[in-house]
Structure formats: structure tokens, C-alpha cells
Symmetry: C2
Subunit: 446 residues, 2 copies
């Protein structure tokens, strides 16, 4: 049997490895458009922050290992352009121009996501970059190495924008950020987004809210960014205006699409064709809290989805329960995390939702070095159920959020969560963990 | 109605505050034997580590606040010696010798635990200390301030012994530790206890296993510790040989005792007398995983128990689900944590238990500064249920353990836990969190 995989990053290579380990007799072919497989895309901002480290440090496993040690037929520079479901065949172009056709018994689409640029004049100037692939990262790093980049405009203030702000800041580059709407990280309460904003501003990062780019022009020394309100002179611009599922060939093949045009898959990761799976950033998932389809492109889900597909194509039956949307990122010296539903998402999903915001501490009373930990919890007044959390603080945020994630998977009520036996020692937490204090306070509103 | 509380630390003062807030008309009297109330006993090692900070920094709320702001009749230096259940009266002595009697409608016993010394000659020498009360901490700190203490023997290698080892080490004191049996932290697999041992040894701490003290003598300069195998000359000795519930007056009053002679209480914290409650380190609890009574003296449980009693004596009905035994402590530069059952405890509780030990990393592939994270998970082969975890590492342990604690409260299977959606970002975790890797590996044995 031939198992063909389109895309050789997290989901694709996880599926390839798992399937081949489960069934060494299986023919496993991976068609990857670029020259890179199996790398930590999420590590790029931290790599860019360091002028010395090679971008190739982010490669988790090299192509030769997949080929020689694991017996996976890994084809680099093979861009799939069409899926012919009738003939069970994929067609495409090899770097250089030659065409190829490959037949499959089972197909996995693991094409990831694209990072689009704004459709404005000047978007293709060399100083205007996106960050998605390892080649994008290499291009940014080369640009920083070749030019005297003293200032950068980051268009967008999402996770990636904030992580890249830290990277450029670490290299001594003046960072400005812009977005067309007001508000930073609008899924958290204003008090918490203000904490993040204060951190950015305290580090000298300039934030422009409510401005839209209309064009970018090259100047003698750098770029002129023309906005609906004024203009900016910077040496470089990074477009971090979000990503979108790379689902074009799936859509053209008539596969069903879900939210945000991600490929719709069931809990076994199967698309609307019994022989085609999709996993990773190109596919949707079920939200454990709402039961609804969502598109949340994150790394763990891609790896886990790939594993599940590897199992399912080799005769094991694996159904994934879905996601709760847990995410964490660094914003300069802050840890910012979320899981489950924001208040707005909870309302949209039909819950009788209420939230409560508290400030607590990262360490015990009187323990030196304690930092403020900000917690917002969301609950459902009708059922008492815990629905989501967001957290911000200089320490003690990144792993705490997972406790809430587990509670969401277990469909715990706020009261049940409030009674959980958390570990306590003065260097790590107050005797009432910030999450427990938050739950106790939320209970009063429910 | 008169609500009388014996003991003014975590459980006692939590109960007093909660009851008075719920029902301001209630007469709430607290009888505390010492002059200290509401302090963070767990903070003492870290306070002792710092010669400058006053021990009174650890007081969370002062007596005057309880009296004047909260209207609690707080009596210091009142040692209760007898509970007369027939007359619903407690009797005792006031510091100085005068006797007192107080009548109660509802009584809470929150007498905490005692830290006994070994019954050997020399146990009462001034250089031989225990650490339990704030006065114990003050005495140690005064001793260190008054004398040139260059070396200390800590008898016992439990949480407190290890935290005190760090404290003395921080003050430049040579630390030796002893215990009569082999093995450190025997609830974790040997590979993990070796990691802790290596850390202690690397910091110059000398460990004596398999030695029993027979006597301690005063010498010109310090102490001669006589053991069954040889002797040691040190300037000071700390007896950290465990604690025991302070349940004497409860036992004399005929109240039922549970494991380790802790006062047996139901899920409302009521003892075997309908008008008497017990909470904190003197009381037992139900283990959520086994359903059995256990005695696990820890701070969060004391506070939570106190709150619940405050609710129950004022007509709210609160039942606590119980504990899972989550604990974390620092051992020099290591974080050490546990929750749920060890393999041995699981076997003793009748589970068909299996464990799996893994090493993972605290941060993503290629992220600088990553440390090894050691994880051991215990599961039940019959039901698939997750039973417990232990962890060791230089970072990323203290809060991760709580995710397992929540899973234990939810009675999750190892497989359900392995599918939880954890947050990922390179500075904080590999894409597969160490706990998820541990769960995936344990699944293969189940």
C-alpha cells in the first residue's frame, strides 16, 4: 500500500514516521515543496534574536535520517499542484520545472498554512518580509546580517508579531508595531492587555493603533511606509497579519472546507474523501468545550494529528478528542497564555458566560522576587462549567495554564476546579495558587 | 452561638475569618498557645537563609487585624489542655499559669502538628533544634546570629530537611545529612532520586545513609553526634525526622483517630462528635484516588479545610472532595514535585499499577538554556487510570505537576491525559510537553 503525504513539516513527518514504524512494509512517500523538513517554525523568532546561531539549528530531524534510518521516500522540491481523486493521484512540479505524478492508496494533506502579505503596492520589496517557512527566517536573518537595520515596522500585533518584536528588540533594533483596529490581544480583559501594552512600551516599542497601510516605497536608506494616517520611515517591515490554511489544492479537489477555509476533518483526521486525511495547520479540529469545528493552527496539534493519521492508515483506530486552544507566548519579559474560550467566544457559543479578573502573586507571601500574576477565568452560569482562562505575568504563567486545559478536557465545573489539590511551596506559588484564587472569586459571580 | 477554635495558624484563622464574614453575629474565639498567629511556616527555610530579614516577615495577618478589623476574639498564650465534650467546654492554661475555661457550641481543633526530636541523650542541648513553629525559626536564626556556626547535621532527608539544607548552604554553612535507612525520597524511582542526590553532593552536602544517632554531647566548640557507626563533630544539629499530628487532646476526649493518629474527619471536616470539627495538620482527609483516609500535612489543605469549617458552622454545607497529595519543594537548584500515588502506594491500594520513567527537556529543541526534566507516571493497567506522578528538574516542574493533580481529581485515564491540549512555545516546553511524552510512553506499558 502506498501512503503519500503532501508536506514534510510537523504533521507530515510525524505521520510518515508513525506509519512506517507501525508497518515497515508500507510505502511512505513525502512530497515537500521546499528543501526543508521537520523544523521548529515556532523557534524562528528566538533564532533570529541571536545573530550567531544558524537557522538550521531549528531542524529537528534531517532528511537523510528519514530516508536512511526510517525508510521514508522523502522527496524535496516537489510541489503538489493537483489532487486527482478519481485516479487517486497527485500531480505537481519538481523544482526546476519537471512535472511528476504519484499514485496513492491513502493520502495525507499536511500543507500547513500561508502567511499572506497585505495587498498593497511595495509588498514585494526586499525589505518587506513575512515569517512562516524556514526560508522566510533565513531571508530575515540574511537581511539583518547584510544591512544596517536600525528600525522595523511589524504590521500586526498577534503572537508572531509580539515574538518578533522581542527578537528585533534583542538585536537592538527600534521596533514599531501597527494594526488597523484598537486593542491588543482582544481575547483578554482590558486590564490584562494593558499589562502587555505597558511591557512593550516600557521596552521602547512604539504601538500604532487604528492605522492602515496603503503602500510601501523604497527610499535611499530604507522604506517609506505610507499609512492612511501619516507615514513612517523604517529600514524593514515585517507583515504579521495572520496566517491562513494552505487548503487551495484540497478545495480544488472538491474536499469540504471548515472554518477559515481549513480542510474539514473528522475525529480520525479523515477529510470528506475516505482515502484522504488532513492534519496540521491546513486542517480544522473539534473544540472540546463547544463541540464545534474550529481552526487553531498550533504546533502540538500538528504533531498529534500526524501521529493519529499514521495510526489510522495502518489499521489502528485513533480518534482525537479535539483541542481547547491552549497557547502561550513570550512578550518581552512577560509570559502570556490562554486556553479554552474567551468571554466573547463563550457568548458566541451560546453559554451564559461570566468572567472574573484577579491579580495574585507568583510566589508566597514574603518570598522574595514575587511577581504579579494576572488571571481571568470564564465560566458558564447555567452549568457551572469552567470555559476558559487567560493569564499574564513575568513568571509562573506558561505551565499553570495547562492545569486549566486539563480541567477543560475533563469538563470540570469552576467549583470542582477550585477544589483541586495544587502543590504549594513558597518559591513557586502562594498557598492559594493564583488559579485557585481566581476560581474562588469567579464562583461568587456564578 | 459561640464558635471556639483551638489553634491560630492556617486552618484556625481561615475558619475564624470565614465564619465571621459569613455571620458577623457569631461569637468567634481563637485560643492560641503561642504568641503567633497566621504565619507562613513553609517560608521559614527561605527566611533563615537570609540573615537580614526578620522572621516576623512571615506573619500573614497580625493579631490586631483579626481582633479589630474582623471582630475575632483572639486569645494568645492560651494553651488548651482538655476538651470536655459533656459540658461542651475547653479547659487550659494561660501563659504564666492561670487556668481558663471556655464554653463552645461548635468547636474546631486546629492544633497542627508537632516536630518531635529523637529520644536520645542530648536532645535538649541548645544546639539541637527542630523547625515547626515560628519560635523554632526564631531560635535557629538567633543561634546562627550569636554563634559561629560553620557546620550543621540535619537528621532526616525529607522535604523540610532538604529545604533547610538549602537554607544553611546559602549561609555558607557546611551541611551533613543523615538517615537510618538507605535511599532518598523513596517515593520516586531510583533514577530520579539519584538526580536529587547528585545535586546535593555537587553542592558539597555530605549524605550519611544507614546511620542511627545514639546520643549528642556538648563539646568545647559545638556538638559531638554519636552514631551507631562513628561520630561527627558539628556546630549545630537540626532534627527533621518527620512530624506527627498534634491530636493528644482530641484522643483524650475520645474522638476517633485516623491514619498516623490524625483526627478522623468526614468530608465536612466534622470529627466523631457532631459539634467538633478538625482541620489542618492535626486532621486526616480522603485521598481522591483511593477513597481512603490519609494524613498528608500540607498548607493548602489546612487553609481550605479552615474555610470549609467556617462555612459549615455558619449553615452553608460544604463537602471537600479530598486531596491527591500534591507537593513541591526546592532541593538546592532543583524543583521536586509529586502528586497522587507512588508505585508502591498504588500497589498497596490494590491497583494493578505500572510506572514509566522518562527524561525530557524543559524547553524546545534548540532553544537555549533547556534543562532535563525527569518525569515518572504511574497508571493502573486494569482501568487505564492515571494514578500519580513525580518530577524533578531545574525548571518547569513546580507548576507542571498541577496538571496531573487536576487529571487525578477528574479520574482521567492515562490516554485521556495524553490527549490534553497543552500550551506550547519554545521558551517554555518542547512541542510535546514532558508530561505528554511521559503519558505516551506509559501507555505502551498499559
Amino acid at each position: 500500500m502506498a501512503f503519500v503525504i503532501i508536506g514534510g513539516d510537523a504533521a507530515g513527518m510525524s505521520a510518515a514516521s508513525r506509519a512506517k514504524r507501525n508497518d515497515p512494509s508500507l510505502t511512505v512517500m513525502v512530497l515537500e515543496a521546499t528543501q526543508d523538513v521537520s523544523y521548529s517554525a515556532c523557534g524562528m523568532p528566538y533564532n533570529i534574536a541571536d545573530p550567531i546561531r544558524a537557522m538550521d539549528d531549528l531542524v529537528v530531524r534531517h532528511a537523510e535520517v528519514f530516508r536512511e534510518k526510517q525508510g521514508i521516500d522523502l522527496k524535496l522540491g516537489h510541489r503538489v499542484e493537483k489532487i486527482d481523486r478519481g485516479r487517486k493521484q497527485v500531480q505537481g512540479q519538481i523544482a526546476g520545472g519537471r512535472e511528476f505524478e504519484v499514485e496513492y492508496d491513502k493520502l495525507l494533506i499536511a500543507t500547513g498554512a500561508n502567511a499572506p502579505k497585505l495587498y498593497i503596492p511595495g509588498r514585494d520589496l526586499p525589505g518587506v518580509r513575512v515569517i512562516k517557512s524556514l526560508d522566510d527566517g533565513r531571508a530575515i536573518k540574511a537581511y539583518l546580517a547584510d544591512r544596517k537595520v536600525r528600525s522595523v515596522l511589524i504590521v500586526g500585533m498577534g503572537y508572531i508579531g509580539l515574538e518578533m518584536a522581542e527578537a528585533f528588540h534583542a538585536r537592538g533594533i527600534q521596533v514599531e508595531m501597527s494594526k488597523p483596529r484598537p486593542g491588543l490581544l482582544s481575547w483578554m480583559p482590558e486590564e490584562m492587555s494593558q499589562v502587555v501594552m505597558d511591557e512593550l512600551i516600557s521596552k521602547g516599542i512604539v504601538l500604532h493603533f487604528g492605522v492602515r497601510l496603503t503602500a510601501i516605497e523604497e527610499t535611499a536608506g530604507g522604506l517609506r511606509v505610507i499609512m492612511d494616517k501619516g507615514e513612517l520611515l523604517v529600514d524593514m517591515a515585517l507583515m504579521g497579519v495572520g496566517i491562513e490554511p494552505n487548503s487551495g489544492i484540497a478545495a480544488e479537489a472538491g474536499l469540504e472546507l471548515g472554518p477559515s477555509r481549513a480542510i474539514a476533518v473528522d475525529r480520525t483526521l479523515r477529510a470528506s474523501d475516505p482515502d484522504i486525511y488532513a492534519a496540521g495547520d491546513c486542517a480544522d479540529a473539534f473544540h472540546v468545550v463547544t463541540g464545534q469545528r474550529v481552526w487553531v493552527p498550533l504546533g502540538l496539534r500538528a504533531n498529534r494529528g500526524g501521529y493519529a493519521v499514521g495510526d489510522n492508515v495502518t489499521g489502528r483506530h485513533v480518534e482525537l478528542p479535539g483541542i481547547v486552544g491552549s497557547a502561550v507566548f513570550k512578550a518581552l519579559d512577560l509570559e502570556v497564555a490562554r486556553t479554552g474560550l474567551s468571554l466573547q467566544q463563550a457568548h458566541e457559543a451560546g453559554f451564559n458566560a461570566v468572567e472574573n479578573y484577579i491579580q495574585s502573586a507568583s510566589r508566597a507571601h514574603a518570598h522574595p522576587g514575587s511577581q504579579t500574576v494576572h488571571v481571568n477565568l470564564v465560566g458558564d452560569k447555567n452549568t457551572g462549567r469552567l470555559l476558559g482562562a487567560s493569564m499574564v505575568g513575568k513568571e509562573g504563567v506558561a505551565h499553570r495554564i495547562d492545569s486549566v486545559a486539563v480541567a477543560l478536557h475533563a469538563a470540570m465545573t469552576v467549583e470542582e476546579f477550585s477544589q483541586c489539590d495544587f502543590a504549594y511551596a513558597p518559591p513557586f506559588t502562594p498557598v492559594w495558587d493564583p488559579l485557585l484564587t481566581a476560581a474562588n472569586q469567579l464562583l461568587k459571580k456564578m
